[in-house]
């Protein structure tokens, strides 16, 4: 069974929700990334989302933009990100890794070449931010043929007919963007997210992760009550920005706190 699916079935039987942290690959330095990924797992990550840096991250706020710039300054490319995943796999054969990035680096490598290389490196899922279902069919089919899950975004503004389109292509889980805006923006309105998720569950069988606006144990706990997984990005990238490679210990400690708040959500 695919690693992502395994994680969600195990958590479901334990009545727990997945904790999915995000960091940008190559930030603050390419040599630091694998260590930071292990630190996330040590803190209780069920799946690791690894950002592939891009020169023009249109859907990201300033925190992740700057992380991308730092990584690119070190010459990080999609090829070197795959090397990092391969390296991570030497010590961790179980935690799923999802690459999150933009279309052009994948276009430049070629869909088939990328899917094969990603699968061999130990990647489990791919979220291409600027490939909505209308443009994603070709890549999704190739990813699936290589055993990779295409992950899609859903927004508060996504109409039902487009949710159905996403359902056709998506695998692994879907990522519900909990507010209007870019990554790292504002705080979330938990009630409106809850009612939207209830509606989505009628249309989708995949687990639903919620991201954007989750900054601490309390907001993670609130999301864990209503979603299948909690996705945290900018808050962690900020830690890396402030503490560089020394952020590892802090990331672990922060996620432990989030993890226990999430696990207490049902009580």
């Amino acid at each position: 069974m695919a690693r992502i699916q395994t994680v969600f079935s195990r958590l479901k039987s334990q009545q727990k929700q997945a904790l999915i942290p995000y960091i940008t690959a190559g930030d603050p330095h390419p040599a630091a990334t694998v260590g930071l990924m292990h630190a996330l797992v040590a803190g209780g990550a069920d799946i690791v989302e690894l950002g592939v840096p891009f020169s023009d991250p249109m859907a990201d706020g300033p925190v992740i933009q700057k992380a991308s710039e730092r990584a690119l300054a070190h010459g990080v490319s999609l090829t070197s990100v795959l090397d990092m995943v391969r390296d991570f796999r030497r010590r961790d054969a179980e935690t799923p890794v999802v690459l999150m990035g933009y279309a052009n680096p994948v276009e430049a490598m070629g869909y088939e070449v990328f899917a094969k290389a990603a699968s061999e490196a130990g990647v489990d899922g791919v979220l291409t931010v600027d490939l909505p279902p209308e443009e994603a069919a070709a890549l999704s089919d190739i990813l699936k043929a290589h055993g990779l899950d295409p992950i899609f975004l859903l927004a508060p503004t996504t109409p039902d007919w487009r949710v159905a389109e996403v359902a056709k292509h998506a695998a692994g889980y879907v990522y519900y963007v909990s507010l209007k805006g870019v990554t790292g923006a504002a705080t979330l309105d938990i009630d409106s997210v809850a009612s939207k998720l209830a509606h989505l569950r009628g249309q989708l069988s995949l687990p639903i992760g919620v991201g954007f606006g989750i900054r601490d144990a309390a907001s993670a706990q609130a999301v864990a009550r209503i979603a299948d997984s909690v996705i945290i990005g900018s808050r962690l990238v900020q830690e890396v920005e402030e503490h560089g490679a020394d952020a590892a210990v802090r990331l672990t400690a922060f996620l432990r706190e989030v993890r226990s708040a999430m696990d207490a959500a049902r009580q």
Partner: protein, 407 residues
């Protein structure tokens, strides 16, 4: 290319329903923007079919912009070049001094129709920012313009113009601090404030329906030219030339000519220090297709798909992508694309000032530079129509500085 070899299509009805020009164009944006683009697409379709809307658009072009812009036969310059006759489509005479306002009027009317009280725009040289600030003042809307921090420095006069008309100018310090980063930032604003904000995109690029929308609003340039050339010269030009950054003035000029046989069309990109040096802004001449800013098109990118920095004397052409319709027209061969270097553009700039008493924008000077190269190779009875997309007042400090003069 010989005139009889021009691939003139019998049918030209693009983009398709998915916003595609062949393999180019499309809608490559995050899910968070899809609903807004869909709303815009539907509202535009209704507006285009609404006589009252189109009448108001034409009224505004006539009485506020000052259209039709004239075509002028540059006789002294043609004489000096010693070959074909050069005619200029005078978009520089529009209100605000460039073609940009044709589009901002159209989009502002759409914004009003959609009940949006706030408009945002990206700008490079500042011409689109000025044109957006202008229409925002004209229709009583709040206006925020995103401009690369570097361009804010290079184009101080235009920044002040925007402020005079009540716009807020936000310097963008991310990435390469130029036009592409301003576009990223405008998109981020739009996704955050999408309920009450209309994004006035300045060039014929971006996600569908923008390339179509901007082309349609700019097509007035070519439509007028087709009528005016017959009035002035008794026939259509042999060659039509326009500069290409994002490509809005060029597509506005070219689009109405696509199905006209016998008219060669040439798009001139910014060659910077020379296309062979790698320091340029000429994706059609030296880039390859990829995905940026919502559409598939030719791009300046490295082997890993990262967008690379562009170089041009002209801030308005300093963009690593190009409108998707140009990519399509290039591949089909209907339009030829070439580049003019900074030096060539500057030489053409000075020649037009001296021989015709017209100060052209540095952007438009790239088209003039190609005409200067082409005219002497053609017989005297041939006609080259150049789209003089803007006036050069904004560029005077740049040109003076290059001549070692502090103003």
């Amino acid at each position: 290319m010989h005139i009889n070899d021009l691939p003139v299509p019998d049918v030209y009805d693009l983009p398709d329903a998915r916003g595609r020009f062949g393999e180019y164009g499309g809608i490559y944006v995050a899910e968070t923007l899809m609903a807004a683009l869909d709303e815009l697409k539907q509202e535009y379709a209704r507006a285009k079919a609404d006589k009252a809307f189109m009448d108001e658009y034409r009224y505004e072009l006539k009485h506020y912009v000052g259209r039709p812009s004239p075509i002028y036969h540059a006789k002294r310059w043609s004489e000096m070049l010693g070959g074909a006759q050069v005619y200029l489509k005078r978009e520089d005479l529009n209100h605000t001094g460039a073609h940009k306002i044709n589009n901002t009027i159209g989009q502002a009317l759409l914004a009003r129709r959609m009940g949006k009280k706030r408009v945002i725009a990206e700008t490079g040289a500042g011409q689109h920012g000025v044109a957006s600030a202008t229409v925002a003042a004209r229709y009583g809307m709040e206006c925020v313009v995103y401009m690369g921090a570097e361009d804010v420095q290079r184009q101080a006069a235009n920044v002040y113009r925007m402020k005079l008309m009540g716009a807020t100018v936000v310097p963008v310090t991310s990435g390469s601090r130029t036009l592409k980063d301003a576009l990223n930032e405008a998109m981020r604003d739009w996704v955050t404030n999408v309920d009450h904000t209309f994004y006035i995109l300045g060039t014929a690029a971006g996600p569908h329906p923008y390339p179509m929308l901007v082309r349609d609003f700019q097509a007035v340039i070519g439509e007028e030219s087709k009528v005016q050339m017959v009035e002035m010269a008794g026939r259509q030009p042999d060659v039509v030339v326009a500069c290409v950054g994002g490509g809005s003035n060029a597509i506005g000029m070219f689009y109405p000519y696509i199905q006209v046989p016998g008219v060669r069309m040439i798009g001139v990109e910014a060659g910077g220090d020379g296309v062979e040096t790698g320091r340029h802004a000429a994706p059609l001449s030296a880039g390859r297709p990829g995905v940026l800013h919502g559409n598939r098109t030719y791009l300046m990118q490295d082997a890993h798909g990262q967008i690379i920095e562009t170089h041009s004397i002209s801030a308005g052409l300093d963009y690593p992508g190009v409108g998707p319709e140009h990519s399509y027209l290039k591949d089909m061969g209907r339009v030829e694309y070439t580049a003019a270097n900074d030096d060539e553009a500057l030489a053409a700039f000075h020649e037009l000032c001296r021989t015709e008493g017209i100060i052209p924008a540095l952007e438009s000077s790239h088209a003039l530079a190609y005409a200067k190269r082409l005219a002497p190779t053609l017989p005297r009875d041939q006609i080259i129509l150049v789209n003089l997309s803007g006036r050069g007042d904004k560029d005077i400090p740049t040109v003076a500085k290059l001549s070692g003069i502090e103003l």
